[in-house]
Amino acid sequence: MSRLRPILPFAILALAAALAQLSLRTLGIEYCLTQLTMAIYYAVVVLGLCLLMGYAGQVSLGHAAFFAIGGYTTAFLTTHDFSAIQTASWTGILKQAHVLVARENLYGGSTLSCSPWAAFILAMLLTLAVAHLIGYPALRLRGHYLAMATLGFGLIVNKIVLGTALLGAADGIQGVPDWHLAPGLTVSGKRALRVENYYVAFGLMLAVLALLRNLVRSRAGRALLAIHDRETAANALGVDTASDKLRAFVLSALLAATAGVFFTHYTGGIGPSEAGVLKSVRYLALAAAGGMASLWGAAAVSIALNFLSLRGLFGTYDNAVFGAALILIISLAPEGPLQPLGQWLRRLFGPSSRRVATAAAGAPPSVSPAASNPGAQ
């Protein structure tokens, strides 16, 4: 049982995902899966922010920009016609390595563009570089310099995207090809692949959840939490606070960009609204409403609210309803909606309640890994 315990939440989540899909099918509204898939990609961004804010205690107001960097890099490289440079000798090598692939455009002409995998890798490298550029100076200092730096950065990216003809200006980039992740696994907006893509998105989120959960329950995660609580003390204990903060920021930026890449292949394009500062604020608010340091809560809240918003349930009051829902959650359950639920479940089933009782009675409590940090659930 104790061996199975860490996998249990993942199993429950996978079951919930399958149930959601099946019930949408039986209700005859399977088209809702499209918005659910998009909401899951947004949740990946929120999970990264959760690590950055809830654990490392740093605020980023520019995560939509990282999402956009991932999305736009992919969209540009996979749709732009590089055949003009075909004469250069090294394009032959790139073609043989499948970095550049020939495609047919809408009018039947042949074009030469980047393969999705190569575009993905380049998007990651670009994000890595940009995140270091922003984070390095801002995180040497203590305080909320990162919030200011990322706010400015988000505005700049938004303006660049809007003002660059190569990136489609106000229209964005359309016609992004499918991404064949593996044989039989394609990121695509095609109707026939809707269910498959729902599970691809879900699998990505589950993988990110697993990575982050491993991280926060380890030496590196404790260091981040220590930095958040008392940076000076953490540093005096041998934690390289500046570089750990930078690592957390870069990791969360990479997650945002990854979500952007998947999202762009899924929806077949990306527009400047994805790079908007309000989007960044929304990600941030969702991470806060999820309970900051609660990965499960962040995922649940952000999927639910983004799904309803994408379904157009809130109509023109979208931002207002969004804000109101967040205020409600934060005032009623400041630790995130899953925290009270989790405590209730634990009281009902968990052996941990007995452990707490023995600890209170003065007996030495057990040192099981499961006893550590219930706040990190």
Partner: protein, 271 residues
């Protein structure tokens, strides 16, 4: 043999105030050195300079003969200097055990990559961190509090957990900033025993403390700071009899006879 810690002409100002003004002293291996002085004498500033939390304006600190001035606090900590703070600064959102586990940071290696992927060897290292932290807690009799959130601990317990956390870094030099302040008589007696035990394990201790009875009882040597300069240095008996020290502490000349022996015990700072 070179002294473990050599402080040479250290100086630091805050605005117009010279907090530490050309202080030099040494701490020998295996020693318990007491650092006393009235409030504002520059004791905590000196600690912050030695542990790297504040940059020095001039002067030098050597640890094991190696200059450590200009290094970051985490680098100094990794070399083997641990410290506690005047106000116990535990990580409130972690349990007592997890706090001490952070103390093992400098003695373990797995970073972001290996931790998030549970790379081969990482789970084992994690178990070692936990076991070692448990042992350091247990050594100070804190095992029953292991799973208590740090924010829920009593003041004296916080001090001890912080001490366990500092010891978990396995330092050669331990800087204790007023470890007895806020403790009751019994806790103070326990603390004295613990500090002796720490020294018996080969750890050198530099101790800032206002409780004179404790300092005079524990320290092999006492350094008196006053207005950022060294006023006197020597064995406890000599310091207790030093007329300059008495004047600084009691604000006036005392009859010679009253200066010795028992008087020292009553020297406690009004808060």
């Amino acid at each position: 043999m070179t002294p473990l810690l050599q402080v040479e002409h250290l100086r630091r100002c805050f605005g117009g105030l010279v907090a530490v003004d050309g202080v030099s002293f040494q701490v020998q291996r295996g020693q318990i050195k007491g650092l006393i002085g009235p409030n504002g004498a520059g004791k905590t500033t000196l600690f912050n300079l030695v542990s790297g939390l504040l940059p020095a304006e001039s002067g030098r600190v050597r640890f094991n003969g190696r200059p450590i001035t200009g290094l970051k606090p985490f680098q100094i900590a990794r070399l083997g200097v641990a410290r506690t703070f005047q106000n116990p600064s535990l990580f409130a959102r972690m349990t007592a055990l997890e706090n001490v586990m952070v103390g093992r940071h400098a003695r373990s290696r797995c970073g972001f990559f290996r931790c998030s992927l549970r790379w081969p060897g990482q789970p084992r290292e994690e178990r070692h961190i936990r076991a070692a932290a448990w042992e350091f807690l247990d050594r100070l009799g804190l095992a029953p509090l292991a799973d208590t959130p740090a924010g829920a601990l009593a003041f004296g317990q916080r001090r001890l957990v912080e001490l366990a956390r500092a010891l978990a870094t396995e330092p050669q030099l331990l800087l204790l900033d007023e470890p007895a302040s806020g403790l009751n008589t019994r806790e103070k007696a326990d603390l004295g025993r613990i500090i002796r035990d720490i020294r018996a394990r080969g750890i050198t201790v530099l101790l800032v403390e206002h409780d004179m009875a404790l300092v005079m009882d524990l320290a092999d040597e006492v350094l008196v700071l006053h207005n950022g300069t060294v006023l006197a240095e020597g064995p406890p008996g000599q310091i207790q009899a030093d007329p300059q020290v008495i004047r600084v502490y009691l604000g006036g000349e005392l009859p010679r006879a009253a200066a010795g022996g028992e008087l020292g015990v009553k020297w406690t700072e009004p808060h």
